[in-house]
């Protein structure tokens, strides 16, 4: 009997965890009030998790653009089609690499710090103290971080893609000596605003929501011990990475 109940618990565990996560999201979103205090704390979190992720995103974007054009030129040269490199770089960036890589980097750079911060607040009883003062910690602590994440990821994605195209320009035009006019005209004629660009922005919005929700939820539900916070931080990276790639496939099959 006891064994049966643990099997049941194992089966229903992930489902009820997902349910708790959904309720957590609703509880958080119900606290949205467009007041100065909340806007200010969202702005502050945007600085902490968005603006401070900028450097790593920009460096990674630049090198991703360089390596993409290096590989693309090598492959396309065999067909005498190295002019198409900007098209390949642009399409793959806007559709897949920009949103996915930015979200993965964001999960590693900002998601972990959100989880660790909230988990530590819980371990040091700060969240309980807020509840004693009739302040809802979900709305006070988690909501600004969640909203800041949703705002930041699309903007970071845009900067990632911009720097990647710059990297591609530096490598393809600067190093390999491709024609700049052909590079830009291929990009402007072959990459579609409606399909490629807007689709990528939708993706990055969804990814931003996923990473931020996982990060704040795992921080909030962490075991209030040192090891518990560590586990929660690891889980944040693992689960948000998996979810990003799963949702990337789902959204790609609907959007494109």
């Amino acid at each position: 009997m006891a064994a049966e109940s643990t099997v049941m618990a194992r089966l229903t565990g992930p489902v009820s965890e997902a349910g708790r996560c959904l309720l957590f999201l609703l509880r958080m979103l119900s606290g949205i009030r467009p007041r100065a205090g909340q806007v200010l704390s969202v702005l502050q979190q945007t600085y902490l998790i968005g603006a401070r992720s900028l450097v790593i995103i920009m460096i990674c974007g630049f090198f991703v653009g360089m390596v993409l054009s290096l590989q693309a030129i090598n492959a396309l040269e065999q067909f005498g089609a190295s002019d198409q490199v900007s098209l390949l770089v642009g399409k793959s960036l806007f559709r897949e690499l920009g949103p996915v890589l930015t979200a993965l980097l964001f999960a590693g750079r900002a998601g972990t710090s959100i989880t660790a911060e909230i988990g530590l607040m819980k371990a040091t009883n700060q969240l309980e103290a807020m509840e004693l003062m009739a302040i809802d910690p979900v709305q006070r602590v988690a909501l600004p971080r969640f909203l800041a994440g949703v705002i930041s990821v699309p903007l970071l994605t845009a900067m990632f893609s911009a720097l990647a195209i710059l990297g591609s320009v530096v490598f393809a035009i600067g190093v390999m000596g491709l024609d700049a006019g052909i590079f830009w005209s291929k990009l402007q004629n072959g990459v579609y605003f409606q399909k490629d660009f807007v689709g990528g922005v939708w993706k990055s919005l969804v990814f931003g929501g996923i990473v931020s929700l996982v990060a704040v939820y795992f921080g909030y539900s962490a075991k209030p011990t040192g090891a518990g916070v560590g586990t929660a931080t690891t889980n944040t990276v693992v689960l948000s990475s998996v979810l990003i790639l799963v949702f990337d496939f789902i959204m790609t099959s609907f959007l494109f």
Binding site: L43, Q44, Y47, G50, P154, A158, I165, Q188, F193
Partner: protein, 157 residues
């Protein structure tokens, strides 16, 4: 207060940078704004084969883009491909006996529609149809014809 101001300034700069990157990408790295002007009129043409012509392919006169392919559909009765094109109304003096052909830019390039202006005195109006059309050259068919002819000439010898 001082620290708060710095944070606000930094996040403001971050937001501005992000939006600037979005705008830059949208305008410089996609086909946004590549649309022809707001004022357009629609003409159509029938082809027996359009090859791999796509929506939004350019419509050119003398190599200069004057419009875009709006839609490609199949006439259910005559089984001809009907291509609707929107043309910038700045070019409203295209003769009505203009010919349209599906061409390819470069060897492996994209398909586009080339218009060959005729000499008729009356001009194309919105909704008009072009009657002189030339279908796309499909590489397999061309090669097939060539091989067929080559085989026949061998036999004749």
């Amino acid at each position: 207060m001082r620290a708060n101001y710095k944070v606000e300034l930094a996040s403001g700069i971050f937001l501005l940078l992000g939006i600037a990157a979005l705008v830059w990408l949208a305008t410089r790295a996609t086909d946004y704004g590549q649309d022809i002007g707001e004022d357009t009129y629609t003409i159509s043409a029938r082809f027996s084969n359009v090859g791999d012509l796509r929506d939004r392919a350019p419509v050119k006169i003398g190599g200069v883009t004057v419009g875009l392919v709006e839609s490609i559909s199949l006439d259910p009765v005559s089984f001809e491909a009907v291509v609707a094109m929107s043309v910038d109304s700045r070019f409203d003096e295209i003769p009505s006996d203009t010919g349209a052909s599906v061409l390819t830019s470069g060897v492996l390039g994209d398909r586009y529609i080339g218009l060959e202006p005729g000499g008729a005195p009356d001009m194309l109006q919105d909704g008009d149809e072009l009657f002189i059309t030339q279908s796309a050259l499909v590489l397999e068919q061309v090669i097939g014809k060539y091989l067929f002819n080559a085989g026949k000439s061998e036999e004749e010898k």
